[in-house]
Assembly symmetry: C2
Homo-oligomer: 397 residues x 2
Amino acid sequence: MLTISTRGQAMPASPIRKLVPFAEAAKKKGIKVYHLNIGQPDIETPKMVLDAVRHSDFKVLEYSHSAGNESYRKKLVQYYASVGITVSANQIIITTGSSEAIAFGFMSCLDAGDEVIIPEPFYANYNGFAVAAGVKVVPVTSFIENSFALPPISEMEKKITPRTKAIVICNPNNPTGYLYSKEEMEQLKALIIKHNLYLFSDEAYREFCYEGHQTSAMHLTGVDDHVIIMDTISKRYSACGGRIGAFVTKNQQVLDAAMKFAQARLSPPGFAQIAGEAAVDLPADYFDTTKAEYKSRRDLIVSRLNQMEGVFCPNPGGAFYAMARLPIDDADRFCQWLLEEFSFEGQTVMLAPATGFYGTEGLGKREVRLAYVLNSNDLEMAMDCLAAAIKEYPGRV
Amino acid sequence: MLTISTRGQAMPASPIRKLVPFAEAAKKKGIKVYHLNIGQPDIETPKMVLDAVRHSDFKVLEYSHSAGNESYRKKLVQYYASVGITVSANQIIITTGSSEAIAFGFMSCLDAGDEVIIPEPFYANYNGFAVAAGVKVVPVTSFIENSFALPPISEMEKKITPRTKAIVICNPNNPTGYLYSKEEMEQLKALIIKHNLYLFSDEAYREFCYEGHQTSAMHLTGVDDHVIIMDTISKRYSACGGRIGAFVTKNQQVLDAAMKFAQARLSPPGFAQIAGEAAVDLPADYFDTTKAEYKSRRDLIVSRLNQMEGVFCPNPGGAFYAMARLPIDDADRFCQWLLEEFSFEGQTVMLAPATGFYGTEGLGKREVRLAYVLNSNDLEMAMDCLAAAIKEYPGRV
């Protein structure tokens, strides 16, 4: 018998995408499904960004440099300066989405059996890249009651073993929307210095902060060798399908190692590098407009959720996700039921059960993640559906 | 001290790209460098293929399905039928270049410590993906004297251990240009059945056969569960920078496992999927023209090389590479010397030392790989340079 690898078996299915067949079945029955399950914004990709690709006039779609086009990396230096981060073009490797940046980080800094500490709930695909790299994810629980703030450093410290090599954060956070404070970032800094750890910082949602500003891991001083930023244009410019991200660090050894992984896959996608480069020249008010839109959506769903009996949703400071605790027995069952058995005026809503975002078995059973990636009218309708569903759900508690 | 992972250290630098700094230095001195070192064709990407992207009119650059756009996969079913391969759209996962297809194959079918047997010399990046996956590459030597034909099955069989899980071939071959015969493919079939192995078949150069036709691994009968094809649009349509490939297998278990790795990285690049889909509709004579061009280039360089004293170059049956044995002491030293110290009428040539394509230390020291990706005039000039260089090189033997 030909067999699948142990890691192929251990690889988790995406908790965000695993309900897709039920959504497809619901649509076939004629039910309209509001997709709040996935961080695919409805915001249009800026025309200027798409036009840069459409108006390109090269004749041969060539490999780029393995680190990405130099012109793009130079442009990104400008972008990072605009958010208070000083890096050179040589400290940036363009990646195929932030996904590949995460993979490069794990592969370059950790061996099989090494451990990374990640506050949970966390972006589920970290699990996938950890399984691929043979790395063990050690979760430290954050709690909905205090908006999923950074767990106490003492709790994180308890998890450190001789195999611990890194801490992974996502800031602002997916799935919780939590924006780490400057104080929390300084606590993390002390921790990585004390225990000699890498800090992998996923900053995909950097611009989307509604309560104060983001403290980037690269704003921390004196830890240049520790910090690796995983970045992406996906959410920033609503360009998820381009698959362009960046691996950014000032640690030369790490850069050298990551470059070898980058060379093995030859180059990042060509067309979307053109898009990414053009995006840096978007007018300064681009993010103001987008952010205002997301903020009004956030206000809408947080308010609507907290009006529902038995529902609690902390106010997320950034990104475009909210986590809510619902009066239900089992989030996975509930989310499937929403698609399989429920409808309200011919409509229903698709949510991501929070269980898939926790590393600790059994947590998140009453929580769901909502991505506010639809316009306000659709969000109102989705909230109407959810309110009706919570009343009707047989597993209500 | 923060450390790099063992695999980060073990990761090989690209043998094709490691001489790049010397080429850059030569160019700064005003020397024209003919690049025969890398499989980046000069052939124009078909206008129709680029136009499909340039004329696209979507508003949001969205994630595609993790397996790639359904419309593209359906189109590929048509493409594969045209080359005698019957597959369904569900048996295809669109990947980020064939690079990712190789990674998915290793990750899904092999665990760390498992072994793959590969005839050497082989495409150097297999090493990279093997290191990333913790997989051990076990080379079986093929020889320039018989054009790098498949090593005797008895030699391959000797290398099989309880950890052997797969055989990897590239057909037609990069770097040797060798086109495996139907008989050789049947021998491989018997071997994978007898020892219950996967056959990973890299068929990037399928269309470029100058002596007879390609026997695809998917033309073999009765081994559906064993065969995985790694494919790409890079060479076929001169679209290397698009980063679009395919992972094709009829083994449902393998597909299920690979899909989980595909979900973790969300989706393959969006723009280039549009290009790949359009390419399937190229007129039937597209490959005739391209193939004729490559064939005339092959004839040119093979003839020129064999006219040089002490040089031997077998006639490659496919792809766009030739391997030549030169009267030199050390291919790495020679290739660096070509860039650092040599010029002929203000020009020089960049080659890939064959050492990087062998898994066995010490082999390939007198061999180089030449990619015939330049037009005939440039190839003639490059051959003039090489002929002069061989005469002048201090390490001539």
